[in-house]
């Protein structure tokens, strides 16, 4: 039996029918066409599928789609303001904080959640907060710098 799910996704009301078994990640990618959230491990260990669910950063691969009924979800597609980029996205580009880019959506969403909670994180804050997001290309150096720079202060002051 299919479940009727009503939710707010990236500020827009959304309704869809799904089996109970797909994850939120599958629903986003397959039902709603939002393929920015990536599957890296499908068991909550890499962060590539990160979304913000009712204000909390979660791995969408270990949320069942029906669980979001009535909830608000922000995906990577909902981070940028109309016609531009969020500071985090801009700083990722300026700092060359991505190589293959497949982990990048997860990092952008996680960094957004971090800055929502803590507008001026230290390097230690950022490393702890982003530890659930695996990147295999960059060694995290430039990612951390981009995130710290996204506070609009400079990293030396906040570290």
């Amino acid at each position: 039996m299919k479940v009727h799910v009503r939710a707010t996704i990236n500020g827009e009301p959304v309704e869809f029918l799904c089996e109970p078994r797909p994850s939120l990640l599958e629903a986003l990618r397959d039902e709603l066409g939002l393929t920015g959230s990536k599957e890296g491990c499908n068991n909550g260990n890499c962060g590539a599928c990160n979304v913000i669910l009712d204000g909390r950063l979660v791995n969408s691969c270990i949320v069942l789609a029906p669980e979001i009924d009535g909830a608000a979800v922000t995906t990577v597609e909902g981070i940028a303001p109309a016609g531009g980029l969020h500071t985090i996205q801009q700083r990722f580009l300026e700092h060359a904080a991505l190589q293959c880019g497949v982990c990048t959506p997860g990092f952008i969403v996680a960094a957004k959640a971090l800055l929502d909670e803590k507008p001026r994180p230290t390097e230690a804050d950022a490393r702890l907060y982003l530890a659930g997001n695996l990147c295999r290309c960059t060694g995290y150096d430039k990612i951390i710098r981009a995130v710290l720079d996204s506070t609009n202060g400079n990293a030396e002051e906040t570290a």
């Binding site: 393929t35 599957e39 068991n43 880019g101 497949v102």
Partner: protein, 763 residues
């Protein structure tokens, strides 16, 4: 930080840090990776994999799966054409065509846990997965060969009864698991060992590790009614996929089009094919497009990790710390089928040093593990762990600083390598010197259980074949059509070289990676070759563009093309009477003969652009838990010329991080039956952001004489030194030399406890 050795040329674009062309798509989630691709009517495929490391397949019964509503087709090896057992080179080094095919779907025997034995297509991924579980495969388990040295013994269980050791064209009489032996010899090792004051030796074991790219393998295939096959996938080499798929499904290459989508990491692991032909055959059987993706466990168990190894090294030195002789016996795991990159270990093990007498034996050994693949300087990290830690012992014995002993023995231009070739201009000494002058070296490391380690590494870097096309747009921008899939910013590094040649800005070049029908042949994005070799093709196309634009200017001015000179983006008559900018000229092409299109294609000489790195690490050991914490890391590398320094630094930092993971935590853990017990990102422990400090990358620039801008490949070198540097640092922290990888907490703790006289008792 960039140290430039020779007086740099002044460049407009090269050496700057523009925003990459594909950047916005990748930070907004709009970039389409393989798994993001959608096509109407697609079925989903799933592979059935062997639960045994070595087993005879007695029967496969798909009937229950086919009864499940929504299931459309099942295939087994019987559905895959059987090529002749013949060596072919399809872009990934030579391989036996039959082995290539049998790795995709097992025939007769399953040779590793995770080996595909059948596949199913169904209406969605969940149904396909359920159906795969309903396919009944009956196995007769056989004894597996798991350990590389044991597998070489005549008594070992044989994987292939038709595999005979190849020794440069000579074939052994009896079958064995040793697929190939290669030997290098230089000078006279017997004399060398006689002349040494002391001989240092050791056996170094490394276990299999995975590239660990975040994006799992994927493929969508459509076998059209007209006999044309299209494949959408993420790969390091669209043309390699084309050649290999064509071979195993029995089509001419012209009937196969491969569309490379964005790729989420590869590091060598996305050169081989896995799902592509399986999806193709399922598509042929169902008449519908078939999409397949692997889950993470399948990636670990069913793709190509990089070989574990057993390496025995001896180095003889004189009292003053001069290496006079070296030998190595290097056995690498090929996995279930022959063809590991073991020769790369042989080529790199002593490469940074000028040693008069060298003998190296290398062996490619099949074992009941996944068929191995390249991983960032494949086999070189295992090798450096051996040679670079022995060198540290020699330095200590000779009373020399670890950097000084490297300078003293450094290979230079003119040094003959173990394989007989002579080095052209290389930058090894310069990396050691830059390490010596680094802030890191100038800072003392203090405190108990702390240590600093140094190690160097070499990677030869590849050339191979590339083609590009350049078209000039009427607004003065140019399109760059290329076939090198972009894993880490090569759209930018190629566009920048083109911009430099034709005198426009990086942003005025629009690079795009296209399918195999739309550009000339390109070898894989691998071997650190793209910025170098595809760069050469781009430069050629850029020069051709300039030449054609000069002809158009001449036409406008009714002059001879010989009278037009070009400086940057300015085209002018030699007498100075007329001049025009590239952008303006681009707007006049329609009236001067039509569009300007230029091409470049190369088969690049790979022998000139080798790269070296020297690393320094500070770490601390927790003597009660064995945990190693990296406190500081500095990596120096000769990049020849850094086109986009930020992405060069990124390659260095990323390679170092993979090397750190390999050094202290990453490993395939095997059960006695040959099952990987940690096939998840939870238990295959790649470094997180919390496990690392910032990584200082110091770029040294000793130009490659084989590239107009001096580019050397940079991607692979940085993974080579870290395990050895860390082993050397651990020695200084706890006084014990570790020789096996990984140096995980249990191993370090055991070493600490044993050194303290309280060795752990195994229970």
């Amino acid at each position: 930080m960039t140290t430039t050795k020779e007086q740099p040329k002044q460049y407009r674009v090269i050496g700057t840090r523009p925003i990459r062309h594909d950047g916005v798509d990748k930070v907004t989630g709009r970039a389409i990776y393989g798994a993001d691709f959608k096509i109407a009517g697609a079925l989903h495929g799933k592979v059935v994999r062997s639960p045994h490391a070595h087993a005879r397949i007695k029967s496969i019964d798909p009937s229950r799966a086919l009864e499940l509503p929504g299931v459309k087709a099942v295939i087994t090896s019987a559905d895959m054409p059987r090529p002749k057992a013949k060596m072919v080179d399809l872009g990934e080094g030579p391989m036996n065509a039959l082995h290539l095919r049998n790795n995709l779907i097992a025939e007769g025997k399953a040779l590793y846990r995770g080996h595909a034995v059948a596949a199913v297509a169904a209406v969605d991924a969940h149904v396909a997965e359920e159906a795969a579980r309903l396919i009944k495969v009956e196995y007769e388990p056989l004894e597996p060969a798991i350990d590389v040295r044991a597998a070489m013994e005549p008594s070992a269980p044989l994987l292939h009864d038709d595999l005979f050791t190849d020794d440069l064209g000579e074939t052994a009489k009896k079958p064995s698991n040793v697929a190939k032996h290669v030997c290098f010899e230089k000078g006279d090792v017997e004399k060398g060992f006689g002349a040494a004051d002391r001989i240092f030796e050791g056996e170094f074991n490394a276990v299999m590790v995975h590239q660990g790219y975040i994006e799992p393998h994927n493929a969508t295939a459509l076998w059209n009614a007209d006999g044309h096959l299209t494949i959408w996938c993420s790969t390091q080499g669209a043309f390699t996929v084309r050649e290999q798929v064509a071979e195993v499904v029995g089509l001419a290459v012209s009937r196969v089009k491969v569309v490379p989508l964005e790729i989420g990491g590869g590091f060598g692991g996305k050169i081989p094919i896995y799902l592509e032909p399986v999806a193709a055959l399922l598509s042929r059987k169902t008449g519908r497009p078939v999409k397949m993706t692997m889950d993470r466990a399948e990636v670990f168990e069913g793709t190509g990790p990089t070989p574990g190894s057993s390496i025995r090294v001896k180095i003889g030195a004189t009292k003053d710390g001069r290496f006079v002789v070296a030998s190595a016996d290097m056995a690498y795991e090929a996995g279930a089928f022959p063809g590991s990159p073991f020769v790369c270990g042989m080529l790199t093990v002593f490469a940074p040093y000028d040693i008069e007498n060298i003998h190296i034996d290398g062996y490619d050994v099949v074992v009941n593990k996944p068929k191995t693949a390249a991983y960032r300087a494949p086999c070189a990290t295992n090798a450096a762990m051996a040679s670079e830690t022995l060198i540290d012992e020699i330095a200590e014995w000779a009373g020399l600083d670890p950097l000084d002993i490297r300078t003293k023995n450094a290979a230079r231009e003119g040094t003959r390598r173990a394989d007989g070739l002579v080095f052209p201009r290389i930058g090894f000494e310069e990396t050691v010197e830059a390490a010596r002058r680094s802030e890191h070296a100038a800072t003392r490391l203090e405190g108990p259980y702390r240590g600093r380690g140094v190690a160097s590494g070499y990677w030869f870097n590849c050339g191979l074949k590339s083609s590009v096309t350049v078209t000039v747009n009427s607004d003065g921008t140019v399109n760059l059509v290329e076939g090198s899939t972009d894993i880490g910013g090569t759209r930018a590094s190629l566009a920048m070289q083109l911009a430099e040649v034709i005198g426009v800005d990086a942003e005025d070049v629009r690079p795009q990676v296209v399918d195999t029908d739309s550009v000339g042949y390109n070898d894989v994005t691998g071997g650190s070759r793209v910025t170098f070799a595809s760069g050469l093709a781009v430069i050629e196309a850029g020069k051709e563009t300039k030449k054609k634009m000069a002809e158009r200017a001449a036409m406008l001015w009714k002059a001879s093309p010989d009278d037009v000179e070009v400086e940057g983006s300015t085209y002018r008559l030699r007498d100075g009477s007329k001049s025009i900018e590239f952008k303006e000229l681009a707007g006049k092409l329609g009236k001067t003969g039509g569009p300007v299109v230029a091409q470049g294609s190369v088969n690049a000489d790979p022998s000139v652009g080798g790269g070296f790195g020297t690393h320094m690490v500070d770490l601390e050991v927790d003597p009660e838990t064995g945990k190693v914490t990296i406190l500081r890391y500095t990596a120096v590398q000769d990049a020849g010329k850094a086109i986009h320094p930020a992405y060069v630094e990124g390659q260095i930092q990323g390679g170092v991080t993979q090397g750190i993971g390999w050094a202290i935590n990453e490993e395939y853990r095997w059960s006695a039956e040959g099952r990987m017990t940690n096939a998840s990102f939870l238990d295959y422990r790649m470094p997180t952001s919390l496990d690392l400090p910032m990584i200082d990358a110091i770029i040294v620039e000793v130009p490659n004489p084989g590239h107009p801008f001096g580019v050397r490949g940079v991607g692979e070198v940085p993974i080579v030194p870290p395990p050895a540097a860390i082993a050397n640092a651990i020695y200084r922290a706890i006084g014990v030399r570790l020789r096996d990888l990984p140096m995980n907490p249990a191993r370090v703790l055991r070493a600490v406890l044993t050194a303290a006289g309280t060795p752990p008792e195994d229970e």
